[in-house]
């Protein structure tokens, strides 16, 4: 690993500088960075919509934008965030960057397909962006028929095409990672020596491969119904709109696990590193990822408890939903136990990870309410549900993504950001987040339905609190962007292993070589054998 420091080191960033060398790259690390750019744009687009939504909801009357505009805002917020931020964030950015490094591989199994999936992703995003700019779409990100197929007069087709195309990116990425994990592991890197992030990515890929085609066909069926006048879900012909919801959620519920599993993996890495010890119950955490991925396919109709499915079916799905809660609980307890008797080094990634733990905990536990049939009848489609899934997806997935991003940022860029500012940002985001979405649980139980442009006046106090929280949240996110970008220009050299972490990605230089490793790494021990390293008794 000794590098001659006399000449500037060659790394994946400075090996070529032309634009073409980026746009035609097959290097998984560069592709990861390119995803980072597009996803960040999508994040701020979605965030802009969210800000406008919260601004409008500061008053009960619809006085900032028209109802039609408001409906477009929450739809486009959902579409941008779900399909272009949450789903690709951790797998396509961090997964692309660190997965081959963690495996000791030179690249993913299919580098060309990897590049192709980035292009597919961008094309899908451009279609969606075009749909947003030329009038927007107002169906809600769920595209429920018959509103989407017969009633809405907005750009449903264009958005649907965008989502459809993006789905292929997700499929190709998942497929690529699965084959990579099966076939490209370094010598000695057995399944139970894999970092938990790899287990998480594998489980995610499984969901991407199995679930995404179903949303593709669902959107396609919607497209032929809307575009060609076919009738597959059309109640006027005797079709069943609930069937659309079944198909939609067969993908979109597991998609929640596409969003949350990889951040869970990143959290395992960060917690192990900054506790300086093994993950408590490695195999339980590893298998709980797989279990979540598989059980995740058995619970979709808990989105349909009041949608007109049979009571017996609701019973089955409610029970299965409680079953999928268990692996998540197991993970949380194991993470907590990991901290026990660790040597806890509270650097910025750890702060983000601990914030994740708190928020994900609330998100997961409030899932017990929505899965409970008798309660769900009341809270379904209210702000309770909005708060619940934001705790999972923003409190969980986005916090986990930021934890991972802060953890691997020095590896990706070779630069270190300001630790203090990063901690401040984590605390601001944590506080702002709780203030934004905490009151929404109460709003929901009081009965405020989601997707409401105007609301009765008695809900105003809680809505103002929520909007105030959102502005704090926005400050936090902008702060993150500022200090991370600043680190590129004036950040300290990070060094190859600033966190003194285990894992193959830290054995190569920062930023890594174009082909990752000088020599083929050979693995002889488990992923988190901190205790076998330099032991220093205090």
């Amino acid at each position: 690993m000794e590098m001659t420091l006399a000449a500037p080191r060659v790394d994946y960033l400075n090996v070529r500088h032309t634009v073409a060398s980026w746009l035609l790259t097959k290097d998984h690390k560069r592709i990861g960075i390119m995803y980072l750019v597009v996803v960040t744009i999508a994040f701020f687009v979605g965030g802009l919509f969210a800000s406008l939504i919260r601004l409008e909801l500061a008053t009960p009357a619809g006085d900032l934008v028209s109802s039609d505009t408001y409906n477009k805002l929450f739809t486009m917020h959902g579409v941008a965030m779900v399909f272009f931020v949450l789903i690709p964030a951790v797998p396509a950015i961090l997964g692309n960057f660190v997965l081959p490094l963690m495996l000791g591989a030179k690249d993913v199994a299919f580098p060309k397909i990897n590049l192709l999936s980035w292009y597919v992703f961008v094309i899908g995003f451009l279609f969606t962006l075009y749909a947003m700019i030329t009038g927007g779409v107002d169906t809600g990100w769920t595209f429920y028929t018959p509103y989407s197929s017969r009633a809405s007069s907005t750009n449903v087709m264009m958005t649907g095409i965008g989502v459809f195309i993006t789905g292929f990116s997700s499929i190709l990425t998942g497929l690529n990672f699965m084959v990579t994990i099966h076939r490209m592991r370094a010598p000695g890197l057995t399944w139970f020596r894999l970092p938990l992030f790899v287990w998480a990515i594998y489980s995610t890929s499984l969901v991407q491969v199995l679930g995404t085609p179903v949303i593709a066909i669902t959107v396609l069926a919607l497209a032929v119904e809307r575009g060609l006048g076919f009738g597959i879900f059309d109640p006027a012909l005797g079709g069943d709109p609930v069937l659309f919801q079944h198909l939609f959620w067969f993908y979109s519920h597991p998609a929640v696990y596409i969003m949350i599993l990889p951040p869970m993996g990143a959290i395992s890495e960060v917690l192990a590193c900054f506790s300086r010890k093994n993950i408590f119950g490695y195999s339980f955490v590893a298998f709980s990822s797989l279990a979540i991925a598989i059980f995740g396919f058995l619970v979709w109709a808990h989105h349909l408890f009041v949608a007109g499915i049979s009571v017996y079916s609701a019973l089955v799905f409610s029970f299965l939903t409680y079953a999928v809660a268990i692996p998540s609980a197991v993970k949380t307890f194991n993470w907590t136990a990991t901290l026990y008797k660790g040597a806890i080094w509270l650097k910025a990634p750890m702060i983000w990870a601990l914030a994740f733990l708190g928020l994900f905990l609330v998100g997961g536990l409030t899932g017990l309410f929505t899965a409970a049939l008798g309660v769900d009848v009341h809270i379904h489609d209210t702000y309770f549900v909005v708060a619940h899934f934001h705790f999972i997806m923003v409190g969980g997935a986005i916090m986990g993504y930021f934890a991972g991003l802060h953890y691997w940022w020095p590896k990706m860029t070779g630069r270190m950001y300001s630790d203090i500012w990063a901690k401040v940002a984590a605390i601001i985001v944590f506080a702002g987040f709780n203030l934004t979405f905490g009151p929404q649980f109460i709003l929901g139980y009081l009965g405020m339905p989601r997707r409401y442009h105007m609301y009765p006046e008695e809900f105003q106090v809680l809505n103002v609190l929520s909007s105030a929280g959102a502005s704090i949240l926005a400050v936090g996110y902008v702060l993150v962007a500022i200090y991370l970008i600043a680190s590129l220009f004036n950040g300290e050299e990070a060094g190859d292993n600033p966190w003194h972490a285990t894992g193959l990605e830290w054995t190569t230089q920062s930023p890594p070589l174009p082909h990752n490793f000088e020599t083929q790494p050979v693995v002889t021990e488990g992923a988190y054998e901190y205790s076998k390293r330099e032991i220093k008794v205090v």
Binding site: H246, F250, L298, L304, G308, I309, S310, V311, S313, V316
Partner: protein
Amino acid sequence: MSHIAPKSMYYTIFGILMVMTALTVYAAFHHLGVFNFPVAIGIAITKATLVVLFFMHAKYSSRLTKLFVGMSFFFLAIMFALTLTDYMSRGLKTYPGGAGGAGYGVRSAAPAHEAAPAGEEHKEGEAAH
């Protein structure tokens, strides 16, 4: 690199597939009651299995490949089975002689109807004692 199967195997499989195609058409013209559908789908599954095993060499592939093939049909079966829990039970009553579920109504049972409109006021009085 891979197993090379004899030409005769491919021709045999093709022959079997042709026979089964003829069989499925033949079966469609005979009234088999509820069995028409299972027979048709059974023949189709057999044909598909033959193609997968021999034409697509799944028989000679790694266990992992076989696992993936099985996985796709496993999850497809989950999709069908769990969706059917809804569609197959929509017509059931929630309790004997009673009402269908709240909002789960379509093909479900009707409440035993009790109130004819003309009796409304009369009943109102009853309920209030």
